[in-house]
């Protein structure tokens, strides 16, 4: 947002004897801001977990009846409900679950297994998939955004703009299907499905290429637009205009003068992508038979395994919170530096 990066305060006194004091005061206020951001993110995560827990608990149907066998009587179901602790008051179960979370205990699934155990192997795989896609997205979208911004209004700019807009609109599983057809079936370059090795991880790094691309392409479209927009806003600011009038080269103006100011917006945009990347990973995994949380979740939905889904959402929420926190800190630092 252009409005978020106010022009450098022109009333700023020149650096003088007070600089050291000011620096300490600045470090203190930066610490305060960082602390406030941290607390706020933690509260939001807790609130989201509460909403998720309530949504699953308050709506009809529960795990006891969902996992029942054909011949189970009402008494059997009631017994299982007691076993799973579903007969206890809602707030009590929620309090238990929340207080156990920080210790890494995600509760017990409807089938009686530890949720943390069920997610221990697949979650890192999904994180690796989404994380690789995230890194690629960041590099590609900043590069493409700069390329477009270097020639505003020219053909390159317009082509990148339209392609980015289109790429972002296509669901990841459709991109994945296209990739399978082109890179695997018609050319035979890459294996079409992921085969797990003995340790449960993908057997070959080549099997990561297509899932990562399927996640990267739509999100790169989205973020390229954000980078391009943020750079356009920066181009209109006096200091960038001054740099351009000074005759500096376009790459230098872009990278040294426009990009730093655009960083908070870019960071926020990328952070917003994290959710889409994690969610997309779940979808793309099913298509490539990738050993991540996608397959675990698909089974959990079928058996109405509330603790398992809530656990997965908690982990995803925590991962997203971390990335948003990083974006907040970048923003706080930039805004602070301009005070």
């Amino acid at each position: 947002m252009a409005e978020l990066t106010p022009l450098a305060d022109t009333a700023e006194p020149a650096p003088g004897p007070g600089t050291a004091v000011r620096r300490i005061a600045y470090a203190g206020s930066w610490g305060l801001r960082a602390g406030a951001v941290l607390v706020r993110r933690a509260l939001l995560l807790a609130a989201m977990l509460a909403v998720v827990f309530l949504a699953v608990e308050l709506l009809p149907g529960d795990a006891a009846s969902a996992t029942s066998e054909r011949g189970d009587s009402a008494a059997d179901i009631a017994a299982r409900r007691e076993l799973l602790g579903l007969d206890r008051p809602l707030w009590e179960r929620f309090a238990d679950w929340m207080t156990a979370l920080p210790t890494g205990d995600l509760g017990t699934s409807a089938r009686g297994e530890k949720v943390a155990d069920l997610l221990r192997d697949p979650f890192p795989n999904t994180l690796m998939l989404a994380g690789t896609a995230f890194a690629l997205t960041a590099v590609a979208s900043i590069a493409l955004g700069c390329l477009a911004a270097a020639r505003p209004g020219r053909l390159t700019d317009r082509v990148i703009g339209h392609v980015a807009t289109s790429a972002f609109a296509v669901p990841d599983f459709v991109v994945a299907t296209g990739l399978i057809l082109t890179l695997s079936l018609w050319t035979g370059w890459l294996p079409a499905v992921t085969v797990s090795g003995p340790d449960g991880d993908p057997a070959n790094w080549k099997m990561l290429i297509m899932p990562v691309l399927a996640l990267t392409i739509p999100q790169t479209g989205w973020n390229t637009r954000i980078v391009r927009g943020a750079l356009a806003d920066q181009a209109a600011t006096p200091h960038v205009e001054a740099a351009r009038l000074d005759g500096l080269s376009t790459p230098r103006v872009l990278l040294r003068h426009a990009l730093p100011g655009a960083l908070p917006v870019i960071a926020t945009g990328l952070a917003t992508s994290t959710g889409m990347l994690l969610g997309g990973a779940v979808v793309v995994e099913t298509l490539f038979n990738y050993p991540g949380i996608g397959s675990v979740l698909a089974g959990a939905v079928a058996s109405r395994d509330t603790p398992l889904i809530a656990g997965a959402v908690a982990l995803a929420g925590a991962a997203i919170t971390l990335v948003l926190l990083a974006a907040d800190l970048i923003r706080a630092k930039t805004v602070g530096a301009q005070r």
Partner: protein
């Protein structure tokens, strides 16, 4: 987050509220809107154009093109073309419903957030909260909570998950207007909040709202088709583009068209509508998340 708080009045230093340039060359916009219109018309008329029944085998499993089935057969030997023509109506109808509802809710709530700063803060927090829940997990949760909901559960999920973000977009666009003279004058005259929203704010936000609808339509198509792909929502005998991709993926070697055709249909729908929406876009930062 230091996002422009809905309700915060524009700082005096930033001068008069920037007016979005609203009119792009009409011809260029039409060129980008026409493909979407044509595609939507074909997809909606599809069920009447289908040459075969969608649930009766007419050829072999994964039969290649030819012999009455132009795009070959699917995993049960049903005609891919007929299923393709039939499969778009529900997706487009659902996405349209979600797009209209979310845009309508966001238009009213977004303006309200600007006029009532305290409510604005609450809505802002709700949007922050919604970002922490990936749409796919959100759909799973709602499907889990409402197993008999089918398509409606997915539509409800798409509305619930999409509204907070859309509210933020409208609020960001409405914020500079709230301090405009004519809005303050209307408030001073003692006009009701509802009247200020419908008569002063929304008419000036029509470009933003129109674009928002287009983008929400695309987003809804994304959520609904992703849910169908995960087999939440439409159930197997139904012809649904996303479901077709999922069902026919194992036979992709035998009859690629059974997967390629619905994939291309979804991609075309998303791209054309998205381009049409951006063609209508005012030159604001409405698409950028706060």
């Amino acid at each position: 987050m230091t996002s422009p708080r809905p309700g915060a009045t524009a700082p005096a230093a930033s001068g008069p509220p920037r007016k979005p340039a609203r009119h792009k060359p009409v011809r260029r916009a039409l060129g980008l809107i026409a493909p979407a219109a044509v595609l939507l018309a074909v997809a909606l008329a599809g069920p009447w154009l289908a040459p075969h029944a969608i649930d009766k085998p007419v050829t072999g499993s994964y039969a290649t093109a030819g012999d009455g089935a132009v795009l070959g057969g699917d995993q049960l030997g049903r005609d891919v073309l007929s299923r393709l023509l039939d499969g778009g109506t529900a997706l487009i109808g659902g996405a349209f419903l979600v797009g209209v509802t979310v845009t309508g809710l966001a238009a009213v709530l977004g303006c309200l957030a600007v006029l009532r700063p305290r409510l604005g803060t609450v809505l802002e927090r709700a949007a922050d909260l919604a970002i922490l829940l990936p749409p796919v997990l959100g759909i799973m949760l709602i499907a889990l909570a409402w197993p008999d909901g089918g398509r409606w559960a997915v539509i409800l999920a798409a509305i619930t998950l999409g509204t907070p973000y859309a509210v933020r977009v409208v609020a960001a666009a409405a914020a500079p207007l709230a301090s405009a003279g004519y809005v303050e004058a209307a408030l001073m005259r003692g006009e009701s909040t509802f009247s200020v929203i419908t008569r002063e704010l929304l008419p000036n936000l029509r470009a933003t709202v129109l674009t928002l609808f287009g983008l929400r339509f695309v987003e809804a198509a994304y959520i609904i088709s992703t849910a169908a792909f995960l087999q939440i929502g439409p159930q197997p005998p139904e012809a649904d583009w996303a479901l077709m991709i999922r069902e026919n993926a194992p036979g992709i070697l035998l009859n690629p068209w059974a997967v390629l055709a619905p994939s291309a249909a979804i991609a075309l729908l998303a791209i054309t509508v998205n381009l049409a929406a951006t063609a209508l876009a005012p030159r604001t930062k409405a698409v950028i998340p706060a």
